[in-house]
């Protein structure tokens, strides 16, 4: 067990015994990671904020159910990913407020800001364009594929940890990731051709 996992475990045990300060320490440790994980999945800062807060509240409420065989961070990520997926499904049922609209809106705002600034270098603009392309391609993936990719590349989780978070086997997690990569390549090609 790594040192981080060990110290997390001690804090979890203390929090389970009713020590709110110990849980507060865990919150501080993971607040940024969970926030950006939620954002990577829903691509909306307001939603990410709600999801991350909800993830911490839920994990505090369900802490007694946490089996200490797994890592606390993996368990917390799982809660956050599930909440993000629920949010994604809710959004999908409301087509007028789709996730694609969110991305377009963010892109539009960014472009306006960039035009207004007029001082950004070509390199920055190119990076920003690439980032937007990847964000857009990611949002076209299925929730499991997106979660697998985000966890692997933006949150440095191993295939085993991804499997824990997604509640599937390690080989299924690898399949999600492989398909995600293939689909991303397809989407990115399509985007580049349309430009």
């Amino acid at each position: 067990m790594s040192r981080t996992a060990e110290s997390d475990l001690k804090l979890v045990q203390s929090a389970k015994a009713g020590n709110k300060t110990a849980f507060g320490t865990l919150v501080k440790k993971y607040q940024q990671k969970v926030f950006y994980l939620a954002f990577d999945l829903v691509h909306d800062y307001d939603d990410a904020k709600d999801i991350a807060q909800e993830a911490f509240i839920k994990s505090f409420e369900k802490l007694q159910q946490f089996e200490e065989r797994a890592q606390f961070s993996t368990w917390l990520y799982r809660i956050a990913v599930n909440l993000a997926m629920d949010q994604y499904r809710r959004r999908k049922r409301r087509p007028h407020e789709s996730l694609d609209d969110n991305i377009h809106e963010i892109e539009r705002q960014k472009n306006v800001e960039q035009m207004a600034e007029g001082q950004r270098s070509d390199m920055e603009l190119q990076n920003s364009a690439q980032r937007q392309q990847i964000d857009k391609a990611l949002m076209n993936l299925s929730p499991n594929q997106r979660a697998a990719t985000v966890l692997k590349y933006f949150h440095q989780q191993s295939s085993k940890e991804i499997a824990h978070v997604l509640g599937c086997s390690e080989s299924t997690a690898r399949i999600h990731l492989f398909r995600a990569m293939k689909n991303l390549r397809k989407h990115l090609k399509g985007i580049q051709e349309s430009l």
Binding site: A17, G18, N19, K20, T21, F23, G24, V27, Q31, F35, Y36, F39, D40, Y45, D46, A48, K49, A52, Q53, F56, I57, F60, N127, Q130, R131, I134, T149, K152, Y153, F154, S159, R174, L177, F178, M181, K182, L184, R185, L188
Partner: protein, 263 residues
């Protein structure tokens, strides 16, 4: 279309997670498979794009409000509350845990409390006896002969203590005659007698004084001739630290008063 059996090795290869033997197998296969080469190129392109991907930072105000929201909800407990909880946790562990070490600790704690309570109930504390010494309660319980015997002894020992207390270690060795082993041994013999009387009479004040005096006498009777000055300094310190001269005077005064009253 049926996919190549080597396809499932491509992603672990790109992500540098492939074992040495599998990597060797794949690298041997690649020159012979066009599909795998194409897929590998695609995967590498996406892998490199994703690795280079840098997410923009969240709006500052929004992130601050998020952190503040969490802090409010999971605010640390006040210090005293934490200490109190730790104390109750420890007490809970001690009294509820079924592990053998905790059981043993519990039994020991109960035994200790029992012994302390019993002592408090059946034996008055030493402090109260010392106070009793000053209020002349203990001495009145002694017989006249006992008092006389102890009074003589205290006078002799006070002389010795006083001489040592007023002397210096720099004096010639011959002048340190009061460190005579024979005198000390005679007094030690008497000390044992007085101690027996004091123990029979349960007089802690005298017992404590005698114990200290006994130490002094033992030091003298066991002293090494070559280290007489060191022994002298040790004894002098012992007398000074225990305030033995004053104590012997008080004891002497009390005994004299008691003898006068009984006469």
């Amino acid at each position: 279309m049926k996919s190549c059996p080597f396809e499932n090795l491509l992603l672990p290869y790109v992500q540098r997670e492939l074992s040495k033997s599998d990597r060797f197998r794949l690298l041997s296969h690649l020159p012979t498979c066009q599909d795998c080469n194409q897929t590998l190129a695609d995967l590498q392109t996406v892998d490199s794009s994703l690795r280079r991907h840098q997410r923009e930072k969240a709006p500052h105000d929004l992130y601050v409000s998020y952190v503040e929201g969490l802090e409010t909800r999971f605010r640390p407990e006040p210090f005293l509350k934490i200490r109190w909880r730790q104390l109750t946790e420890l007490a809970g562990k001690l009294f509820l845990s079924s592990s053998p070490s905790f059981r043993l600790a519990r039994a020991f704690a109960i035994l200790l409390v029992g012994v302390l309570l019993g002592r408090q109930l059946f034996y008055p504390s030493t402090t109260s006896k010392i106070n009793a010494f000053d209020s002349q309660q203990t001495a009145t319980t002694l017989t006249k002969d006992d008092i006389q015997f102890i009074a003589d002894y205290v006078v002799q020992s006070e002389l010795l203590l006083l001489t040592i207390a007023n002397s210096s270690a720099d004096e010639p060795t011959d002048d340190l005659i009061y460190l005579n082993k024979d005198i000390a041994q005679t007094l030690l013999y008497k000390t044992a007698k007085v101690q027996r009387k004091a123990i029979a009479l349960e007089d802690d004040v005298i017992i404590i004084f005698l114990n200290r005096l006994e130490l002094v006498l033992l030091e003298i009777s066991n002293r090494d001739d070559e280290e007489i000055r060191t022994t002298f300094r040790d004894i002098k310190n012992m007398i000074k630290e225990s305030d033995m001269v004053q104590k012997s005077r008080r004891l002497q005064h009390r005994l004299e008063t008691t003898l006068a009253e009984s006469a």
